[in-house]
Symmetry: C3
Subunit: 198 residues, 3 copies
């Protein structure tokens, strides 16, 4: 089941990579939409292989490499969100990228540890996430409020799944978590970029 | 004993994180003082957990993850030092950040290896450190000479402790090393930022 | 034999580090030529030590840490190539650095995995490499066409060796691969920078 989800992610992000490669948002500069999809292909291939997966205390596979790929892909999304929100200060954009890196790296540590270390790192990751998104949601720019929907519904879905999955309290198994992450990936990385282009 | 030091670091840097979060140096841009303290919390939690610690040939624990966190926190301090020293060339600031990354990554390799590889990487790290700080100490900017004290007494304390600790010749044990690092962390990451704000 | 090659690399890049340190291309800014050689010393020392080497299914040593050092050194070369090609868009230069990082990290994963994962990551790395160099070769700037020779003969040599070495189909052993990589390193990191300075 997990294998089918990973294969699905591979196919979906291969198609979106091709689409965004040939349909650039801007003729010049970083083709962010393509790069995000392209990095996500690599993430799915690596999870499918299972090379870096570890086992949770309850015997469920933890595909922690996902969170390191998000350092790259979500930092790119931060550049897009910052631009769409009209944030022109380089320092402010650097802060978004930096906080995203902290969220993802501490999340990775939370995923592979257990006990109170897991929960302390989860807390640090969550705090960094709140510091990241609250000022972002406060930026009221006339044309960019549609982005808040992606942040609240999409981005915030990841820590919720993380908390309920074997990386957290283990309410459901890794297969369900991987399916939910795939939907969130499609929503925040493909649907978002399609609307950004539109 | 080591646990108490790590807990102490966790408490101290949690307080400084809160302080710098609510007392920004500048209203705009990267809140470096806060981010440095916040990253250091994560570093102390991970060392406290001991998840990534390895054992030295003499049986002492080596908490090498510290040096990877310094890639981030000390790069942020480089941005501050560069700005305080009046270095405006982006290339020059990038060189400081890049050299700091080399110092810390080669230091990490030195910490986890042994024999002549340890000492070669220690030498590379030390050379990169000298290349980093000598031009920095040479910048004579009227208002920023107080920073040299932090570089000479604070920053340079780290390689000395590293050399004397189980990561080097093992003159003293890991507990003493961790206590000294904590004092150096407080001096270079909290006292420095308090004086920078003042 | 492999040890002699690594020692040779260490000696050659120590000399080139010294040379470029005392013969800066530009008085101001990042001394890229020196930093590339300096990082390469660290890479050769680590391979010489063999600390991180893994074994291929055929029993050959895989020195995968090389590719992670290329993230740094080749990103610096990208800055130089971008400048020499007259690419002034920061976004475009960031794309070069970013694509190079994808090439090297996915190449590292390809080196340490086996079976179809190895080949999928090799394919992703190769695609990222083509996306990187094809637009670069298309930039026809009067004075910079000599660079194309380095890209086509030098840079493109690495994936060819990777494919034929134990990281790929294993046509020849690790010693031959290390010797070829050393020649390519000298060509793309020393000869290139000497011509750039000239």
């Amino acid at each position: 089941m997990i294998d089918i989800i990973f294969m699905g992610g591979l196919v979906v992000f291969s198609i979106s990579s091709l689409y965004f490669f040939f349909n650039r948002h801007k003729p010049e500069g970083l083709n962010t939409a393509f790069l995000v999809s392209f990095v996500t292909i690599a993430s799915y291939v690596l999870m499918w292989d299972g090379f870096f997966a570890v086992e949770s205390p309850a015997g469920q596979p933890i595909f922690w490499s996902r969170w390191l790929f998000y350092v790259v892909s979500c930092s790119l999304l931060m550049l897009e969100i910052g631009r769409a929100k009209g944030i022109t200060s380089t320092g402010k954009v650097a802060e978004l990228v930096f906080l995203n890196t902290i969220v993802m790296v501490t999340g990775t540590v939370s995923a592979v540890t257990s006990g109170w270390t897991k929960w302390l790192f989860f807390a640090i990751s969550a705090i960094a996430y709140l510091i990241l998104i609250i000022p972002l949601l406060r930026v009221r720019d006339g044309d960019s409020n549609w982005i808040d929907k992606y942040i609240l519904l999409g981005w915030s879905g990841f820590p919720v799944v993380f908390f309920l999955a074997p990386t957290g309290i283990g309410l459901f198994g890794s297969a369900v978590a991987m399916g939910l992450y795939l939907l969130l990936d499609i929503y925040t990385k493909i649907a978002f970029n399609l609307q950004l282009k539109a």
